[in-house]
């Protein structure tokens, strides 16, 4: 076999990327590309799974049957997203159980937004509207990601996220035009979730250590600050439309740029939450770990049964 050196392979790989040819699981890829994708996709999968908890917290208390059914369907979608994201990571050789163990040990991260508590029903509105809204901003460009399985998973995820975003906005709109208590509940949820939602786009471009390489590999198609700006531009008029106030005294529209300018994000808080010191980090991970531990006997039984059945068949 003719020896092809790594530099040549990397050149051909980058050429494919530059021509927008998708990379598929069996194609050659640089180790760093694989590692970056595994990190990003499993982080994304973990976010879906941990993200089930803050909303799952309100299913049994949803205010009417329709809201209960919609919330159940939404949380079920998130479990489904987790499943196909873990599958996408598996195409890169990352075992699902290993990546989950990394989550439980604190080695792998997930979106910091899910480390904030859901205190009132209005939080279901705020999460759908802002958190799913921000997720869509982040994920739509990933539909064009250079790695085929991730890009294709994202097409499906984005369709469902846009339904999630609309149901969240609809909850907020209903509350905003409801009784004074309901409006106050909606405003309070917005106050608590606005800044954490902005933090979902990650550190500023200057601080983001992965952005440049990820952009070159077309894993990432826009920078954190670009996406954050898009989100602010879309969301500010929506808040105005339903008569809620964004908790940012510095927020203003810049006629010259056509963009909203917003105040300074509390990056100290962001890094604390990323490091594990947010209000719910411990609860979330403890809950996931407990689910895995308490399910151990069930998984063992399923494996034992499958083996018995296979043995009986071959006997």
């Amino acid at each position: 076999m003719k020896e092809v050196n790594i530099t040549e392979l990397e050149r051909m790989f980058q050429e494919k990327i530059d021509q927008d040819i998708k990379i598929e699981p069996k194609d050659w890829m640089p180790d760093d590309y694989r590692e970056t994708l595994i990190r990003q996709i499993s982080q994304h999968a973990h976010s879906e799974i941990v993200g089930m908890l803050p909303e799952g917290n309100w299913i049994t208390r949803a205010p009417n049957l329709r809201r209960k059914a919609v919330l159940l369907a939404k949380v079920q979608d998130e479990a489904g997203h987790g499943l196909y994201l873990y599958s996408a990571a598996e195409t890169l050789g990352a075992d699902r159980e290993d990546t989950i163990d990394d989550l439980h040990s604190g080695k792998a991260k997930y979106s910091s937004i899910f480390n904030y508590p859901t205190l009132t029903w209005a939080d279901m509105g705020a999460i759908g509207w802002l958190v799913d809204g921000a997720a869509i901003m982040n994920q739509v460009p990933i539909c064009r990601c250079s790695y085929g399985p991730y890009a294709r998973a994202m097409v499906r995820v984005c369709k469902e996220e846009s339904f999630h975003q609309r149901q969240g906005f609809e909850i907020m709109m209903t509350l905003a035009k409801g009784s004074p208590e309901q409006k106050a509940m909606a405003q309070d949820a917005l106050n608590r979730f606005w800044w954490p939602a902005l933090m979902m786009f990650g550190p500023s471009d200057g601080e983001s250590k992965h952005t440049a390489q990820s952009m070159k590999w077309k894993i990432k198609r826009s920078t954190n600050d670009e996406l954050r700006q898009q989100f602010v531009d879309v969301t500010v008029p929506q808040a105005e439309m339903i008569g809620l106030t964004l908790p940012d005294a510095d927020l203003s529209f810049n006629e010259a740029t056509g963009h909203y300018e917003y105040g300074e994000i509390n990056w100290a808080e962001f890094w604390e939450v990323v490091k594990g010191n947010g209000p719910c980090n411990k609860d979330r991970i403890d809950t996931r770990r407990k689910a895995k531990e308490e399910g151990q006997w069930v998984r063992e039984a399923a494996t034992a049964f499958a083996q018995k059945r296979a043995a009986r068949k071959s006997a």
Partner: protein
Amino acid sequence: MNQAHVEFVLRIADDSLILGHRLSEWCGHGPVLEEDIAMTNIALDLIGQATSLLNHAATLQGEGKTGDDLAFLRFDREYRNLLLVEQPNGDFGMTMMRQFLFDAYRTILFERMQSSSDEMIAAIAEKSLKETKYHLKHSSEWVIRLGDGTEESHARIQESLNTLWRYANELFYTDAVDDEMRNAGILPDLSDLRQQWENTVNHVFQEATLTIPSNNWKQEGGRKGMHSEHLGYILAEMQYMQRAYPNMEW
């Protein structure tokens, strides 16, 4: 007649609602991701059934109430569900055993109710039967898997059966409401319900290597609004918003 009709619909509706509530408590806590998806899906089916049935009950009642009013503003003693469905989730095996005992009954009930003279009931039964057959497949497979899995899983699921068996008899509870519904053609003949149910259950337990407890201690009362202590907490949680903020749109 109308009162019995409402009562009859509420009994089926409340079974779906309370079991759907219990299953939804699992959300995010399942033993594997696939089961988180399955259990939320089944909960969603049950909440959907409850919604159709409660809306129908509210219409029959003719007092201007909605299905939501019936779900969120009735008190414990007005709830008509089986004691079985309000029992706590316990471990995954307990949840699957509860589900299996119920699904085996529900499948037969919905099969028969498709020929109800109440067209709404017949339509709801037809739609729900499709869902319930899938639920039964899911729960019976787990009962078999856990029963014939490891020593630990066998012991656990046998213990769940021992715990829940006392509530199985109530599945076949009948009273004047059922008589009246049968005479009106709303409730088809169910005289062989127990026999049919036992066929399913015995078959599955045999494959699962499980033993039906010899203890015939029976508990009932749910159909008359006499519940276990668990229901009060379910309703306290479920009705919290409507009780705290009455008469609002959500």
